[in-house]
Symmetry: C2
Subunit: 358 residues, 2 copies
């Protein structure tokens, strides 16, 4: 299951050290007072974007028993269906304090729930950034959550796959290889690990099936979303990252910053025009224990190479490697870790200091 998180890249250069100027980031930046004031919300709503109609024909009529003991019902699976759409939920403030909205894009096998309340019930990054004064758009990409999914092999070309508990535990670096157990009490997290491990099974309820064959409609939907929203910041997790990097390359006039949380994919700089995004600010955030994961050792160099190419072309391309700042124990799901608000504050501080948003 090692390729679960991987998008398309992962190549062989070393992770560079974090930018020295980031050492000054203040962990005291979490605003205690503003976190308790009510939000003045103008509008909560949603829309679906992108997608197309497909028409199925020639499929046999089937019979389904809807209620035990009832006669079966004839079902005709033929006709018109929508496919390839994405779901987007927005919360717009009456008077946003910040000049740009944030789009939050989830990782593989997950949905926009990633950004909501943490599995152990603390406010998530959606709430954090709303309270900091940003309008917010949280999406479920094509094939998952409220975006829905389509039958296979007639519409999607492949079947889905499902990530088991052990694989999530190890890939998301909750604990070291071999430390997962079906019994919650028997699981061993990393020393100083910050994931709310007692809520791991609760977190697993957020998991959705994943397909390997939907990158193209997913990217198309993200492109449409950027065009619909306009100038924006993207905060993206894991395998979502390559979609965000590509969105910036396509519309550097609209995507003002890409904040990649533990990205598992980035463009090969030899195949894209990196100079196009020299005006886009890039930030990468890494958790702890990456050196104890063969998967992450294999994934990180590709992102590093892209970030180095961004820097060489004149773009701001920073990284926060949290352990190098003495922040230990963060996992792949650092928006859910016990210090999730601190990390959100680091990111928000970077957005303001780097001039991305007023």
């Amino acid at each position: 299951m090692l390729e679960w998180i991987n998008g398309t890249q992962g190549r062989g250069v070393k992770l560079d050290p974090v930018m020295p100027r980031l050492l000054s980031l203040s962990l005291a930046a979490v605003c205690g007072a503003c976190a308790h004031a009510p939000m003045q919300v103008e509008d909560i709503g949603s829309f679906h974007i992108s997608g197309r109609q497909v028409t199925l024909s020639g499929l046999p009529i089937t019979e389904v028993t809807l209620t035990a003991g009832a006669p079966p019902v004839r079902l005709d699976p033929n006709g018109d269906f929508q496919t390839g759409q994405m779901y987007v939920q927005y919360v717009r403030l009456a008077a946003p304090k910040k000049s740009l909205p944030i789009l939050m894009w989830h990782g593989g096998g997950l949905t926009g729930v990633t950004w909501e309340t943490t599995p152990d019930g603390r406010p998530g990054w959606q709430a954090f950034f709303l309270k900091r004064g940003y309008d917010l758009y949280v999406s479920d990409a094509v094939e998952r959550g409220r975006a829905s999914w389509s039958r296979y092999p007639e519409i999607y070309s492949s079947p889905p796959f499902f990530l088991a508990g052990k694989d999530a535990w190890e890939l998301f670096r909750i604990g070291p290889p071999g430390s997962y157990s079906s019994e919650p009490a028997a699981r061993k997290i990393f020393e100083s690990g910050r994931f709310p491990a007692a809520a791991f099974d609760q977190f697993r309820k957020q998991a959705v099936p994943r397909w390997a064959t939907n990158d193209e409609p997913t990217q198309a939907a993200y492109h449409q979303l950027v065009e619909r929203v306009g100038p924006c910041i993207i905060i993206v997790h894991s395998s979502g990252s390559n979609f965000a990097y590509q969105a910036a390359l396509r519309r550097p006039d609209l995507v003002r910053a890409v904040v990649a949380i533990e990205p598992s994919g980035a463009p090969d700089p030899g195949t894209v025009d990196v100079a196009r995004v020299k005006g886009v600010a890039h930030l990468t955030v890494w958790g702890d224990n990456t050196e104890r994961s063969a998967f992450w050792q294999r994934m990180m160099p590709g992102e590093t190479r892209y970030r180095q190419a961004l820097s060489a072309s004149g773009a701001r391309a920073d990284a926060i490697d949290l352990p190098k700042h003495g922040i230990r124990g963060n996992t792949h799901m650092l928006m859910m870790d016990s210090n999730s608000d601190e990390i959100a504050a680091l990111i928000e501080d970077w957005l303001v200091r780097s001039g991305v948003t007023r």
Copy 2:
């Protein structure tokens, strides 16, 4: 596909006339001013509820090609998975004006998106009731949307089914039988039909696959939700209705009202203790053109029989048959129809007048 919306019931008595006292309902009850004031939101968040862990073993390792041209990846489908959970998103106001929160439960093959922005971009009932001062809980039931779904036949016992455009068009009474076309411009809605028909394909993007075999975990999750939230009002659509009626029968101390929008299922009054819910207020709302749909002619009597039994046991059990009040053209999706705010106002007026909420 006629049984798409049906839960478990649908029996043979005539729909009774609406309660005369409801004739006084005021369509002018939509508050123009309050709809434009910002909401003071204390908290936006979500949780998953109910569900259990299942362990799969003995399934063969498969190979998946994640990227065209890349070598295939070995995937082990065995291990622990969560199943049977429900997703719930809440918006809690800083100072709710009303004494009870509202739970909004969707119908078959749909998700909580039902209650959000309408397909043509108007504020939905979620926004309407928030602006009227209710805390709100919108859920995605087991098997759909952000609740996720499980593989079959290993966990779910059956495959899903998918509702085609023509079937949705007819079952939801957008237009008469035979009036659907793959070509949007060629579709013919009912005379004075109120569904935003130009956004029908946009609405279809909200559709999710449906299983016939998940009623039990779905009901269990709804029961848990009621216990978690406490005293509440349920607004429920279509096939969700039977879950709501059962929730009231189980916890009449917590469920203070059930507002069933075009219910397609109700308990057989001979099989439940109707007297238990004599303190629970019930309201049913019907749209137009039900007499032109064989499906709805077959579904409505079961609900009528249940409502009559409620009345006989001393419960408040009202119905608003909109055409009988001169409100024509409403479809099965009346929370999306052009007069959706007017209907929401009728419901809210009923909640207040019947003493359900202060």
